[in-house]
């Protein structure tokens, strides 16, 4: 097949001692970047974009791919060990990763994350290699009503995040929805909840929300408990490799997460947040141990981490085939292309095959490097848990503050992150789950925009949501997800669960 010949030539370009070294450097920088709160892959790439002036395209792209994968994995490290995800894509990982670490199982948790990232990276890069044009066509056919329906489906699918108390979960969700409202209304330009501050016109960045609710909130909570309560020591039991039972439980989530991440990543709404939350929910639904979720279920790490990593190759699909950057990272990679005077788009594969295939080959190499370098390092990372708690929490506060200030250069944003952090502190104190707030502030604005856009296009005619087959199917699916779990036990008390899909 021609694809493989092209890919082979890409590898021929990318596989040299020099480039392998670049890949190793990239993955290492990326992991460090991922560990620091606030500095995500997009930011790291933006800072390193000037590299492109000195490097050839292949070298620069290999470093970039390495940094990207490394940082996605690095985000998992802090999520699991400290409950402080640096960005929204790692939030789902923290839900079960942190309880696992508290139970002394940090080793297997980290190993699952790195191996799952690798597996999903390979799956999704294969997807990019073989399916890019087909997936791009699917993405191209999505209209505003379909996006809206997809958001509704995502919303009802992530009830797993809500936790034990529905009221608490909903309060948290609506807090997130409110945060998402702040800023200029996208469709009319009206200011909402900006209180006349020009800094708020652009809204509150999701990274600020995540750092506030998690890093700052967690550190404040941790410090307060040191002061007022007896803290149980986190003991690390020393085991790093997955045992047999764990191995059996993680491989399916890796694969499912890989597909979810790839498919959602390639939608023009892009990003890694939605697929990670969906994957978490899916694993909880499918698991034989749903009661373990939230308390340290290894599937809850395997699925979302795989989805997180896979979303990157997904994001490359619209970028390479349509010239559409759907995430911040993709936008940076687009500018890297443009620096080399290359315009991604429908003609890219014909005009610059060398570069494209080298890039794809470099994604494979980045993934392999990630595995080789980071698996042995798991032993080093778990040492973070040995840092005395007062130092550790203070360190998180310092890095979180620095991260936010470097992000915005604005003191107001630092104040905002601390206000959100204090909210996060009280949410922890009174047992409110924080993940739904993150989800609300991501999904809310997207859903609102698509809903109003769809109605504007139809001139206020609501029937568009029921007359377009794709929209209707997605909405019916959402309805099924919402009502089936409560309805099924009553309607079908004795029948098997396999009939579930046919009842709506």
């Amino acid at each position: 097949m021609e694809v493989f010949a092209d890919l082979a030539s890409g590898f021929a370009n990318a596989l040299s001692l020099q480039y392998l070294l670049f890949a190793a450097i990239g993955v290492t920088i990326g992991t460090l970047v991922g560990v620091l709160p606030g500095i995500g892959p997009a930011m790291a790439l933006a800072l390193l974009l000037p590299l492109t002036y000195g490097f050839d395209p292949t070298g620069a792209l290999i470093i970039f791919a390495g940094i990207y994968y490394g940082s996605l994995y690095g985000g998992a490290i802090t999520s699991i060990l400290l409950n402080t995800p640096g960005e929204a894509g790692s939030v789902a990982t923290a839900i079960d990763g942190y309880p696992m670490a508290k139970a002394g199982r940090a080793g297997p948790a980290l190993a699952t994350a790195v191996m799952g990232s690798f597996a999903a990276g390979i799956i999704s890069t294969l997807g990019l290699t073989l399916l890019a044009p087909a997936v791009a066509n699917l993405a191209k056919s999505f209209q505003a009503t379909d996006y809206f329906a997809l958001m509704v489906l995502a919303f009802v699918s992530v009830t797993a995040l809500v936790g034990t108390s529905i009221i608490r979960g909903l309060v948290s969700l609506f807090l997130g929805l409110f945060i998402g409202l702040i800023g200029l209304d996208f469709l009319t330009g009206q200011q909402r909840f900006t209180f006349g501050a020009p800094e708020l016109l652009g809204g509150i960045d999701i990274v600020i929300v995540v750092i506030g609710l998690f890093a700052i909130g967690e550190a404040l909570y941790g410090l307060a408990r040191l002061q007022f309560a007896k803290v149980e020591e986190v003991k690390f039991e020393g085991r790093i490799w997955l045992n047999k039972a764990e191995r059996r439980r993680v491989w399916k989530p890796w694969i499912r997460g890989g597909f979810l991440g790839f498919i959602f990543g390639s939608m023009p709404t892009g990003g890694s947040e939605v697929p990670t939350f969906l994957s978490y929910n899916l694993e909880k639904r499918l698991s034989k141990h749903p009661h373990e979720f939230g308390k340290g279920a290894i599937e809850g790490i395997a699925g979302p981490e795989a989805a997180n990593n896979a979303s990157f190759s997904g994001v490359m699909v619209p970028l390479l085939t349509l010239g559409i950057p759907t995430s911040a990272t993709a936008a940076i990679i687009l500018s890297a292309f443009q620096i080399y005077n290359i315009q991604p788009g429908p003609q890219l594969f014909e005009n610059s095959p060398d570069l494209v295939w080298t890039l794809i080959a470099s994604l494979f190499i980045g993934n392999i490097m990630l595995l080789i370098i980071n698996l042995p390092l798991v032993k080093v990372w778990v040492r973070i848990l040995d840092i005395p708690k007062p130092l550790l929490f203070t360190g998180i506060l310092v890095f979180g503050t620095l991260g936010v200030y470097s992000l915005s250069g604005s003191v107001l944003e630092v104040i905002i992150v601390y206000v959100i952090g204090i909210v996060g502190f009280f949410m922890r104190l009174y047992d409110f789950p924080v993940a739904p707030a993150v989800l609300g502030s991501i999904l809310g604005p997207m859903m609102e925009t698509q809903f109003r856009r769809a109605l504007a296009i139809s001139q206020g005619d609501f029937s568009v949501f029921f007359t377009r087959p794709l929209t209707l199917v997605l909405l019916l699916l959402a309805l099924a997800v919402l009502v089936l779990p409560t309805l099924l036990p009553r309607v079908l008390p004795r029948r098997t669960a396999t009939d579930a899909g046919t009842t709506t």
Partner: protein, 343 residues
């Protein structure tokens, strides 16, 4: 490619990461407020006596940023100045946060700021206390033009067919374009005006940039779209979109489409960008800055930049530029008022 500074969540993330780069640049390049580059009081003969600091009031990667960096490069590599030139970014508030910060450099001719048509509208829209009246206009430099496109399978073959359908039933044509109050919406509003459609009846759907707009055109969500020609070029070449007209006054070389004027509607729009200096610099200093920028515009580096970015050479300096800004302010304010975006 043009990335607007306001918009969706995704856009905000661009802002965020851009800011980091800005932070780094500010560290190396000495940010806007603080230093002012020691030599602020230098006399005209020895201008520039310190490094030139250019502010891009937006993220790295967008139009303002590219313009600022290209100017800095042409100034130094083109041999216009010996003292060096640095660029720093102040994103937020659709550029008005940068503007507010910039005017604090009062009297320092080594400070420059990139502005453009979008900023004129943003000042109105965000109710900014500081306006371009508070700056010293130096030069208009570049222009980019909008393209009117339809999906390749659209029934509209010409702009006239599209405008006839629009005139007959304004609401039935959903127009896609960039953020609210931006160049694209102003263009569509002026088109509506030209065919006698009430601006209030306009069905304009804003998108946060080419990344969102392109799929909306390809999926048939919008009937037609207006945005920067560069955003659509690749899709047009690939036969996915049909280019009906461009918004320039004269036909663009190498582009196979009439101007809107040639297509029969007296509308043209240029997404221009230029430079301003802080308030309260002396006339000699102003002349020296203008002289430096005119020399910069003549360098080979600058001409190459114009060509590779498909920017039109749109040079206009000094008082004429000041008058141009005033007339732009008047028309933009009028259009935004008609659109109901400002009161």
């Amino acid at each position: 490619m043009m990335i607007s500074t306001r918009g969706s969540k995704k856009q905000r993330t661009y802002t965020a990461l851009a800011a980091v780069a800005a932070g780094l640049l500010a560290l190396t390049g000495c940010g806007g407020n603080g230093g002012g580059g020691g030599g602020g009081g230098g006399t005209a003969e020895e201008y520039p006596s310190a490094s030139i600091e250019i502010m891009a009031p937006a993220d790295p990667g967008g139009g303002y940023d590219q313009t600022a960096r290209s100017i800095a490069r042409a100034l130094t590599e083109g041999g216009v100045i010996e003292t060096g030139a640095d660029v720093y970014n102040v994103p937020g508030g659709s550029g008005t946060i940068g503007l507010t910060q910039f005017v604090q450099n009062s009297g320092d001719p080594h400070q420059l700021m990139v502005i453009g048509k979008i900023l004129v509208g943003a000042i109105q829209q965000t109710d900014s206390q500081v306006t371009l009246e508070n700056t010293t206009p130096i030069a208009r430099l570049t222009a980019e033009y909008d393209a009117i496109v339809v999906p390749a399978d659209s029934e509209y073959q010409t702009l006239e067919q599209l405008m006839e359908a629009f005139k007959a039933d304004p609401g039935s044509i959903a127009w896609g374009g960039g953020s609210v109050g931006g160049v694209d919406q102003i263009l569509v509003a002026q088109l509506a005006d030209a065919v006698g459609v009430e601006v209030a009846d306009l069905n304009y759907i804003p998108y946060s940039g080419g990344g969102e707009l392109t799929p909306a055109i390809l999926s048939g969500d919008v009937e037609a779209a207006a945005s920067g020609l560069a955003e659509f070029q690749d899709q047009i070449d690939a036969g996915e979109m049909r280019l009906l007209a461009v918004s320039s006054e004269k036909p663009i070389e190498g582009v196979d489409a009439p101007t809107i004027i040639d297509a029969g509607y007296d509308v043209s729009i240029a997404n221009w960008r230029g430079l301003v200096a802080p308030p309260e610099i002396s006339d000699e200093q102003r002349e020296a800055v203008i002289g430096m920028i005119e020399e910069m515009a003549g360098t080979q580096q600058w001409q190459e930049t114009l060509e590779s970015n498909n920017w039109d050479d749109y040079l206009l300096t000094g008082d004429e530029f000041s008058e141009y800004i005033q007339s732009e302010d008047k028309t933009i304010t009028q259009t935004l008022t008609n659109l109901g975006i400002i009161e």
